[in-house]
């Protein structure tokens, strides 16, 4: 029962171009979404988030788009830099549960080529 899915295990992008990472979810009760980046031997680092009342949130080179009707979100990185090479996880949570349990996708390994 994979409630959050990242269907692309890997993605390779040229430096300076746009990277687009995708995520789908099945639970319509999810109302908050987050993207984390993970380097080897480190814990996930929070990147950007979006509430279900918005359809876009921007922070510097990172923009997250949310399409609630399609239950789909995407992370855009522009321009892509070599330091962006990492595994990216999307995560979702459901408010009103008395705790903020994050449900993660399987991750997408992004490689930025010089």
């Amino acid at each position: 029962d994979q409630q959050v899915k990242q269907n692309s295990p890997s993605l390779s992008v040229q430096e300076g171009r746009i990277s687009i990472l995708n995520c789908d979810y099945t639970n319509s009760m999810f109302d908050y979404f987050l993207w984390y980046k993970k380097y080897p031997a480190e814990g996930p680092t929070f990147l950007i988030s979006i509430s279900s009342i918005k359809d876009k949130n921007e922070d510097g080179r990172f923009t997250v788009f949310l399409n609630k009707s399609a239950k789909h979100l995407s992370l855009h990185i522009v321009p892509s830099q070599p330091g962006d090479s990492a595994v990216y996880f999307c995560a979702a949570s459901e408010e009103g549960q008395g705790a903020q349990k994050l449900v993660f996708g399987q991750g997408t390994r992004l490689t930025i080529n010089p």
């Binding site: 031997a41 814990g43 996930p44 549960q97 903020q100 994050l102 993660f104 399987q106």
Partner: protein, 112 residues
């Protein structure tokens, strides 16, 4: 400003043994969550502690238990270890019910 810290970094145990992992939250945070990350998978929620009580639990057996101390630090205990318990165990902290959780570097547990 210290981030989330976890100890030990690596641990090797044999089947049937018990293990305790430790976590200190980021300064100012009072909520600690534990996740298990198997190879090639995303982190899976084990449980969350707030005010020294387990607030929510994921789909993990009773062999997994935890504790939160008055200083907000936390322990994860796993009894009767199985080979399938081999994973990276991540601790995350947050303030209250804030959505953004900050993760530690994890403890790599290997069960032989």
């Amino acid at each position: 400003d210290a981030g989330v810290t976890q100890s030990p970094t690596h641990l090797i145990k044999t089947r049937g043994q018990q293990v305790t992992l430790r976590c200190s939250p980021k300064s100012g945070h009072d909520t600690v969550s534990w996740y298990q990350q198997a190879l090639g998978q995303g982190p899976q929620f084990i449980f969350q502690y707030y005010e020294e009580e387990e607030r929510q639990r994921g789909n993990f057996p009773d062999r997994f238990s935890g504790h939160q101390f008055p200083n907000y630090s936390s322990e994860l205990n796993v009894n009767a270890l199985l080979l399938g318990d081999s994973a990276l165990y991540l601790c995350a902290s947050s303030f209250g019910l804030a959505n953004e959780q900050f993760f530690g570097p994890g403890t790599r547990l290997t069960v032989l």
